[in-house]
């Protein structure tokens, strides 16, 4: 992405003429609003944004952004976005997807995009349910969940999206929450700034089919005690009074009270670039006793697929010269008929 100076844009520039069609109170509204607020601040000309989505409530998103947009088919957005970016590396390409779209039918395209590391930003709206189809369990729904398609409880062990990303060579893994507007905006920025595939999980409330799924990190009353706000280079502290911390015993993390049993220096310090630490952090959500990490869990610089392709083309042209079509057609073995 080249960032040319552009007429400063505002939120309005990103609001399309279509009326938004989500249930009143849906978490998607906030994500849309924060995106419309953040995009103008990236210094990218409006016409260079492309939003690609699959199918789902979340995937209607592109219709509401006054940019180039492609509402594709279920699960295929990562593949289609890869074609967009590879065809024109100069574009800022965003994949908008849901937990079903990205992790159920689209799981394979997602993990292959992650390993190829094209400079594409994936925003996964995780509401732990299939919203558009009216409430079946998804690959992130908790084990035993009773839904339209699992009246006796789901038998599926859920995916942990950050773990999936880390296990499949992702170079940027972060998590945020729909209602935390500042954190959401900051996360979108970080995702954009990362040169490579960014995987941003957004906890999103579906108030119709899975209301309160994330109340532990959204309810004023309890959220401070449940959110671990990751800051690179900082010790892991949290809690209303900021007196709780994370300490490591072997590889197992535990919650400690700072001051009482331990001092700040005993606490685990976050290192965005440590893949092994990232794996441990990703597993936090599978342990009741640990807080939910928000922010950038992992990031590393790796070559981009599309940049490498451009290099290959340039060096081929240097070595072999601009392709000569007539010569190519003629080939090496010819004969004349008089």
């Amino acid at each position: 992405m080249t960032e040319t100076d552009v007429p400063t844009l505002t939120r309005k520039d990103f609001v399309s003429d279509q009326d938004v069609r989500w249930c009143p109170g849906c978490g998607d509204y906030s994500i849309l609003a924060q995106t419309q607020k953040t995009m103008p601040e990236l210094g990218v000309p409006k016409e260079k944004f492309v939003f690609v989505a699959g199918i789902g409530c979340s995937s209607r998103f592109p219709y509401y952004m006054d940019t180039f947009g492609f509402h594709t088919i279920h699960g295929r957005a990562p593949a289609i976005a890869s074609g967009v970016k590879l065809a024109n590396p100069d574009l800022s390409v965003w994949v908008i997807t849901g937990d079903g779209d990205a992790l159920s039918i689209g799981g394979n395209h997602l993990i292959h995009l992650l390993r190829r590391n094209l400079d594409i930003n994936i925003v996964l709206f995780n509401n732990e349910i299939y919203g558009l189809t009216k409430g079946q369990y998804s690959p992130t729904s908790e084990f035993g969940k009773k839904t339209k398609s699992s009246p006796f409880g789901s038998l599926d062990r859920p995916f942990n999206p950050p773990s999936v990303a880390l296990g499949t060579q992702s170079t940027f893994v972060a998590r945020t929450v729909d209602s935390n507007t500042a954190h959401l905006q900051a996360s979108l920025k970080r995702a954009y700034e990362h040169k490579g595939t960014s995987f941003l999980e957004v906890y999103q409330n579906c108030l119709i089919y899975n209301d309160g799924a994330f109340s532990h990190v959204t309810d004023k009353a309890v959220k401070d005690d449940n959110i671990l706000d990751l800051q690179h280079g900082q010790p892991m502290v949290f809690g209303g009074e900021g007196d709780k911390g994370i300490r490591l015993d072997g590889f197992t993390a535990e919650v400690v009270t700072v001051g009482k049993d331990v001092s700040m220096d005993d606490l685990l310090v976050h290192d965005e670039h440590d893949k092994n630490l990232a794996a441990i952090l990703a597993n936090f959500t599978e342990d009741e006793s640990l807080p939910t990490p928000l922010g950038v869990i992992f990031s590393e610089e790796q070559p981009n697929y599309e940049a490498l392709m451009t290099k290959q083309i340039e060096s081929a042209k240097e070595k072999l010269g601009e392709g000569d079509l007539q010569q190519l057609i003629i080939g090496t073995d010819t004969w004349e008929v008089a």
């Binding site: 279509q18 947009g69 594709t72 088919i73 074609g83 065809a87 292959h112 083309i313 073995d333």
Partner: protein
């Protein structure tokens, strides 16, 4: 050359057969190349074993290459063999039944060991019992003879054994009075860095040539003169390779970057391999995780302004259906190449078939029309593919190209087109206008919508798989709009008849029988029709390049004949379209054997009808 009897022949059909390791394909290529330089017309067809290499000497491991070369213009690799070269008992077992009675069999006696005979399930050695009495058998200890030829060289015995095929090649060169130089030159180029290989293979080649010259065993030599081909510069070309060239040419002509997204599958993989070499042409090839991602990425590339292409074979095309449907409703240019193979399911991956016509036309949910084109010869793959790209860009639509394993791997001499002879492709983008860009506004003639791509300021817009509102392109659930859009999508394709040149009828314009074909059956049908016409029969031939839409003038031609015969390497697909469209009682010839038609099969059917 000894004062040998020389017989002149019009056409000769040779098949080289041996173990996958024996270099039969290479032997065929070289003979083909030499025959071309001598000016013969040609048709070739390699017959690979099923995908994995089977153990040496086994029946499953036999690889063959057939070619016909002629002093007149021909259209196929031929049917029954004049000459069979069998490098081992398995090769003999697999192919002897195709040798004409009285035909020439050249066998590498050295390989007819007890072990090999057992592997090929011969009770006794056919070279010793009388099972080959109907043929002119030349059993030669090729392996031993090449050893002799290289005694004084220090090369591994493996290398020596590997030169067998050049011995055979030399012998055939002698039999048909062919020059050895081109092959020697080729060896010198190919093994620049391995002089010992140049030497070894050249010696084998000459040993074979001299063997024919010296030994008495060959009573006659044969001469096959040059064919009256149209003057010009020729090359030999396979269908897959021509397809790849057609794509690059279309990209250049349309000034759109070529984007190829696909996943390997037999027999389409070679197109990916070929295009991946063209980085200096700016070609981007993307080997995706599966066919869905391959075509998906292509649709993305089309949205971003590329000439987007995907290729696959049956099972892969099956998987692409949903994404192609997205391209239909979003009206994006996309070329989908199906190198057809024998199905259903995995079927017989290396064998040919024409059974995916309906898959191309109907393999998507809802009313999802798309044009379908099919080339008729290896060289025609170039022009048909180029035409498909032109249509995709002009009409903003996915276009299917149906080739098959026979076209893909078969080759023919191809008069090299000059770029100036290739029709230009104009591909224009929407321009900024006052008032908003309407993504579904259409050209009045073609009904194509305007193309605006990311990066064009002021033309920002959204498209997708939900039904679009006419003109605005917004999502619409309006019943009348849906009905209108369904009709517009259909009319757009139907209107492409304007792109189709007048239908050609080979032979008389009216008569007893018209043979109607499509795709790779061209050569077999044309040869058969020629044969019957020379017997004075009232038979004509029409071959379709466009399957959807059908040519506007097709009906009137069909009605000028008493009977219509439609040979297809499937259970009858084009015939259903013809019967339903024109309500004529066309008959079908349907042999689904994973092989191209033989002249004899078509002739028999025509005679039955007449």
């Amino acid at each position: 050359m000894s004062d040998q009897k020389v017989e002149t022949l019009e056409s000769v059909v040779i098949r080289f057969a041996g173990d996958s390791g024996d270099g039969m394909q290479l032997m065929g290529d070289r003979f083909t190349n030499t025959a071309a330089l001598v000016g013969n017309d040609l048709g070739t067809f390699p017959d690979f074993p099923a995908e994995i290499r089977a153990p040496a000497g086994s029946l499953a491991g036999v690889s063959a290459f057939q070619l016909q070369f002629s002093s007149r213009d021909i259209f196929t690799p031929g049917d029954n063999l004049d000459v069979l070269v069998a490098m081992n008992p398995a090769a003999l077992k697999m192919h002897i039944k195709d040798l004409k009675a009285g035909g020439i069999l050249i066998a590498n006696k050295s390989n007819f060991t007890a072990k090999n005979l057992k592997l090929a399930v011969w009770e006794s050695n056919p070279l010793e019992d009388d099972s080959l009495n109907d043929y002119q058998v030349h059993d030669i200890e090729i392996s031993r003879l090449v050893v002799n030829a290289m005694e004084d060289m220090d090369v591994t015995s493996k290398t020596v054994e590997r030169t067998k095929n050049f011995f055979g090649l030399g012998l055939l060169y002698w039999m048909y009075g062919r020059p050895m130089e081109p092959t020697v030159e080729w060896l010198e180029k190919k093994f620049k860095k391995r002089p010992e290989l140049i030497e070894a293979n050249t010696r084998a080649l000459k040993a074979g040539y001299n063997f024919g010259d010296i030994t008495e065993s060959f009573a006659v030599q044969y001469e096959v003169g040059p064919a009256p081909l149209e003057p010009g510069t020729y090359r030999n070309i396979t269908g897959n390779y021509a397809t790849g060239l057609g794509l690059v040419a279309a990209a250049q002509n349309s000034k759109r970057p070529l984007y190829y997204g696909g996943y390997p599958i037999t027999p389409a993989s070679d197109i990916l391999h070929q295009l991946s070499h063209y980085r200096n042409f700016g070609v981007k090839t993307f080997q995706a995780e599966d066919e869905i991602a391959g075509v998906g990425s292509a649709v993305g590339a089309a949205f971003a302004g590329s000439l987007a292409v995907t290729a696959s074979s049956g099972p892969g095309i099956c998987l692409k259906g949903e994404v192609i449907g997205l391209a239909v409703i979003t009206e994006l240019p996309l070329v989908v190449i199906n190198v057809q193979r024998a199905g259903p399911s995995t079927g017989m991956p290396t064998k040919t078939e024409q059974a995916d016509l309906f898959l191309a036309m109907y393999g998507r949910n809802g009313e999802s029309p798309a044009p379908v084109l099919a080339p008729s010869t290896p060289g025609d793959c170039f022009f048909t593919t180029h035409e498909a790209c032109r249509i995709a860009l002009k009409y903003m639509t996915p276009v299917f190209v149906l080739t098959d394993a026979f076209l893909a791997n078969g080759s023919e001499p191809w008069m090299i087109p000059s770029l100036d002879d290739i029709p230009p492709i104009d591909s224009s983008f929407a321009e900024m206008r006052d008032g908003q860009y309407m993504p579904y506004e259409r050209d009045e003639e073609t009904l194509a919508r305007e193309w605006a791509i990311p990066g064009m300021a002021g033309l920002e817009h959204r498209i997708g798989g939900l039904e679009r509102e006419h003109i605005s392109g917004n999502v619409s659930y309006d019943p009348d709009n849906h009905d209108l859009m369904v009709r517009l999508r259909a009319e757009k394709v139907a209107g492409m008849t304007r792109e189709i040149p007048p239908t050609e009828v080979y032979g008389d314009a009216t008569g007893d029988l018209l043979v109607l074909g499509w795709g790779s059956t061209f050569g077999a049908i044309r040869t058969s029709v020629e044969a019957l016409r020379s017997e004075g029969k009232s038979v004509s031939h029409t071959h379709l390049k466009w399957l959807n839409p059908l040519p506007a003038d097709l009906g009137e031609h069909l009605l000028k004949f008493q009977k219509v015969l439609i040979p297809e390497v499937n259970s009858g697909q084009l015939i259903k379209l013809i019967r339903s469209e024109f309500l004529i009682d066309a008959e079908g010839l349907n042999l689904v054997r994973g092989k191209p038609f033989r002249k004899s099969q078509i002739i028999a059917k025509m005679k039955e009808i007449l």
